[in-house]
Amino acid sequence: MERMPKWADVMLTPLISLILAFAISALVILAIGESPAEALKVMVEGALGSSYGWGFTLYYTTNFIFTGLAVMVAYHAGLFNIGGEGQAAIGGLGVALVLLALPWPHWALALPAAAVGAALFGALWALIPAWLQARRGSHIVITTIMFNFIAAALLNYVLVNLLRPVGSMDPASASFPASTHLPKLSEMALGFGIEWGRNTPANVTFFVAVAACLLVWLLIWRTRLGYEIRAFGKSEPAALYAGISPVRITVSAMLISGGLAGLMAINNVMGEAERLMLNAVEGAGFIGIAVALMGRNHPFGVFLAALLFGFLYQGGGELALWTTIPRELIVVIQALVILFTGALDNMVRMPLERLFKALRRKGA
């Protein structure tokens, strides 16, 4: 029935696109007078060549999974949530408040509480745009953009004036108590007697992210709410016909979306920095847009895309750290990957389809 085998569509197309993106990146590297082979080696080795590299790659991946899922869930409801950045930042505030307010005896207790705090704050930050969209028709794209700016201002105020320990220059909260520090993946591996990724930030949150992928998959494709979200996203009149309330779906989808974005904070704020800093999100909210769209709005795709971006981030970081290649090159490589695998994918797919058609004709 299909124009080309499914495996080719799912595997071959992205692979060729990726190769194209890297080929163009190589040209850019050549153009700035550096060696592409060297750069590739540093990136791959730095990100995937050792448990150390993986420890970072998985840390970034975890961030991107959350923001990617956030964009994805909203997208299924036909809502374009550009506010992941702000929601994740406010999620960090939730984590900080939870962890600083109470004396947590053990991380296993602190983690669920902080996760609730993060999700709750992130969700709240998404609630206002959602409500305005559902009730007042204010376009969610504008309101979420605005809420990113407002979140930055709010966080700045809170950190500088309320949470900052006196005498500290750093607009950051106090460090969280040691009892709330999350186990790093390296420590967990050590528990099994394996020396893996020492001193890397990847932590137990990675498993939370993987679980979130599964749960979001269940939510979207196995629950009634997910069914309603998808239906509403495809056709509002049909949703009304079926008795699906637009207000309820808009608000629920955005709450879940904001909650997921907020959850990122347990990785970067609780798991890595162990205190709340200004600009802790570092653009992961925007990367989430690319991750969701490239992952074809499917949790598994989001996982893979997040891994790809984790690799790019870590590999690129290595590049910036250990070579003379400026770190902006990584941004360019990211851009090319997004462009080729996400927007120009048909450029690869169309000739492939023709190729498969020709092959089939020959075979038949």
Binding site: F56, Y59, Y60, F149, A152, A153, L155, N156, V160, N161, R164, V166, G167, S168, M169, D170, P171, A172, S175, N199, T200, P201, N268, E272, A273, R275, M277, L278, N279, A280, E282, Y313, G316, G317, A320, L321, W322, P326, R327, I330
Partner: protein
């Protein structure tokens, strides 16, 4: 080999990262030595960068920015044979030298100069991102200005609340114009790349500006009153020169030690009248002798003026 790690703003931030870079380059040019430099991409890399450098045997490792404080405090003891130098932050570990600058003193002098150079009695301050460190500049400046002109007025603006605030010359120039229209005729910019726009707009509008961190007088000769220079370059230079023998402990780079100063060169010579020079001199002496106490915003998060 020594090593230098830049903060997230990157080595060409028109601010203290760039000054650190210049210090390292000077050392390189003078000694012919080589050094490692690192630019980070994200917060999570701080620890990674420090550890990897320490493991690679770099010594001393110099880093710019208060944001390294936490991480350094945590890992310094893992590498007892390595010396670390941190700029703009105090980390109390036996193998760490902390270099802090009394920006409030330098800014105080800038305030005095501004007061004397101002004809309208109104001056401006434009900060980059709204964070305590920049308030420290603002507060010193305001104190110096008020000391020289108790009736005068300081208009204060911050560019924004996100890192974008460091790179928005358009907004910088607009803020300057807003201040000029309120009567300001000398404006002090502590705003990284945004400051470029402030200085430019000031030159266009025919008012004086004061640069920050490194000597920016040359950017618009005859139009930049002076620059509040923070000797980050010297600190890096000296640390590199001392090599593994860097003295641990806190180094306070103040007016006396020449850590902060006002830049005087041919570019601003015509602007510095004798009266201004005398006032700056007097204030310098006062601070050095302890007669004038410049309040540090960081000690209590507030500014007396």
């Amino acid at each position: 080999d020594p090593a230098l790690i830049f903060d997230l703003g990157g080595k060409f931030d028109k601010s203290f990262n760039e000054a650190a870079y210049n210090g390292a380059e000077r050392w390189k040019a003078e000694t012919g030595g080589s050094y490692k430099e690192l630019e980070m991409q994200s917060e999570a890399q701080r620890e990674q960068a420090l550890r990897r450098l320490a493991q690679s045997g770099a010594n001393p490792i110099v880093m710019t920015g208060f944001a390294f404080g936490e991480v350094l405090d945590k890992i310094a003891l893992d590498y007892p044979d390595t010396k670390f130098v941190i700029i703009d932050m105090v980390v109390e570990q036996p193998n760490v030298q902390s270099v802090v600058f009394t920006e409030e003193q330098g800014s105080y002098l800038a305030g005095v100069a501004a007061a004397k150079a101002s004809k309208s009695g109104t001056v401006g301050f434009i900060g980059g991102m709204d964070i305590p460190l920049i308030h420290k500049f603002e507060c010193g400046y305001a104190q110096g200005f008020k000391a020289a002109n108790p009736q005068g007025k300081v208009i204060i603006n911050y560019t924004g609340t996100t890192p974008a605030a460091w790179n928005d010359p358009v907004k910088g120039s607009e803020l300057l114009r807003a201040q000029v229209s309120q009567g300001a005729d000398v404006v002090y910019a502590a705003a990284g790349g945004t400051g470029i726009g402030v200085l430019q707009a000031a030159a266009d509008a025919g008012v004086l500006s004061i640069g920050v961190d490194s000597n920016q007088n040359h950017l618009h000769p005859g139009k930049v009153l002076t620059s509040m220079v923070k000797g980050v370059d010297n600190s890096v230079y000296e640390a590199f020169k001392a090599g593994a023998d860097v003295e641990p402990g806190v180094r306070i780079m103040d007016l006396i030690s020449g850590g902060v100063s006002l830049a005087m060169d041919d570019n601003n010579k015509p602007l510095i009248s004798d009266e201004i020079a005398a006032a700056i001199d007097a204030a310098t002496k006062g601070i050095e002798s302890g007669e004038i106490k410049v309040h540090d915003y960081m000690t209590d998060n507030s500014c007396p003026v």
